[in-house]
């Protein structure tokens, strides 16, 4: 009994390192960000639901690739049909390329036909840094218990060419299908690709 307790204590210490970075199989960082409708969005509010986080910059060519081909909207729609909460997050600082205020974000979502549950405006980059979001797009899938199950690229072919989408493995789609079927996620990380997130200082 005693050794087991010690091991548990060691595991708990390990689970909360000083420089917290998101880790697969560990609780995903909670956040509190205002969305484009003025509503406060937190991760903890969605306990019991699978959550997808998508980092976005409307002017980034990699984002345009996936929206231009309808790939992102298709995945958002598919997620919504499965009761998955899809949150698009913009961590672009004010004055940087791709930063949107609430009105511009609503116009953007309408223009591209976005089917996300909400568009979060993280202009201070706090949530982006908490997730160590590096690129647009950069994707995270969190299970019903709030555990991080996938982080990385939207798919397996880093490029700006729409023609590559059909040939690529769509990692988020795959992770969602596996999670909703009660299976483990087969590819839990991939290197994200895209433009750098345009953080402020």
């Amino acid at each position: 009994m005693k050794p087991r307790l010690l091991m548990l204590a060691a595991a708990l210490t390990f689970a909360a390192p000083v420089f917290a970075k998101p880790v697969i199989g560990q609780p995903a960082p909670d956040f509190s960000v205002t969305d484009s409708a003025g509503k406060t969005q937190t991760l903890s509010a969605y306990k019991g639901k699978i959550v997808v986080l998508e980092w976005n910059n409307p002017e980034c060519p990699f984002v345009r690739k996936h929206y231009g081909a309808g790939n992102m909207q298709k995945q958002q729609g598919g997620a919504a049909a499965e009761e998955v909460v899809w949150l698009t997050i913009n961590s672009g600082a004010e004055g940087k390329q791709g930063h949107l205020d609430a009105a511009a974000a609503n116009a953007y979502v309408a223009q591209v036909g976005g089917k996300e549950a909400a568009y979060l405006i993280d202009a201070d980059g706090k949530t982006g840094h908490a997730y160590d979001a590096k690129t647009t797009p950069h994707m995270y899938v969190i299970d019903k218990d709030g555990t991080l199950r996938y982080m990385g690229g939207i798919d397996s072919i880093p490029s700006t060419d729409k023609e590559d989408i059909a040939k690529a493995t769509q990692y988020v789609d795959q992770a969602l299908a596996e999670l909703t079927a009660g299976k483990p996620v087969s590819v839990s990380t991939s290197e994200p690709y895209g433009c750098s997130v345009k953080y402020g200082s």
Partner: protein, 277 residues
Amino acid sequence: MRMAATMFGICLASATAFAQAVQSDHVSAELIGEHLALVPGQSTQVGLLLRHEAHWHTYWTNPGDSGLPTTIAWNLPPGFKAQDIEWPLPKRFDVGGLYNFGYDDELVLPVAIDVPADVKPGAKAHLAATAKWLVCREECIPGNASLVLDLPIVAGPAKPDPRWIKQFANARLMQPQATAWKGETEVKDDRIVITLRGAGIPPAQGLDAFAAQRKVFDNKAPQIERIGDALIVSSGKSEYFGTSPATLDLLLTAPAAAGQRGWRVRIPFADAAAPAP
């Protein structure tokens, strides 16, 4: 398409080199040849010359936290073969706390072209390529260009093209020097520590280090120190580190003041590292 390329690939024409620069957003691209002609059975150096506008850059084979490496897809006459890009030493770009590896200013990406032995002197070879890149300042723009380089085939030695002597000399300086250094890697929690030993190991001051493989280093500048005869390179481990690569291609770059130069060392990767959960 392929047929057309083959038909026009080699034809009789005037014996001069011909190519044209393509101006794209924030960068111009051109195929250049080190020599004015090609010689049957020999290999020749050509290059993709990229001239960047101030503050814009394109990418190394490992682009870092974001970006895309430049690619060249060749369409060559039958029997010709293009080798891989001989990547020059990269520079580190800080993009708002994220790191990109690549090139600014004027850059040549050299490629060796093997000329078959059976081509006839007097003919002309049409070397065609589609180059694709991502050019970034903080924002990024994908670009591409269809480029051609027509070179005559001669029996004898080919003369250097006087227009590009400086570019190819610089390209050679920008190549990492191969070394016989011995390296050992050790994965300690979230860091990768590499110990290098061997003749001509440089002092640590001003050095930077890069891994050619992706998903190994975390892309932040590694800590580099000299302890006795050993050079220790300690980098954060990539969050996307999965299975260890069999070997790590480590590049070291010296301060620009000394002229851009650096070294390459191939290191067997200690497989003590467990795959990521």
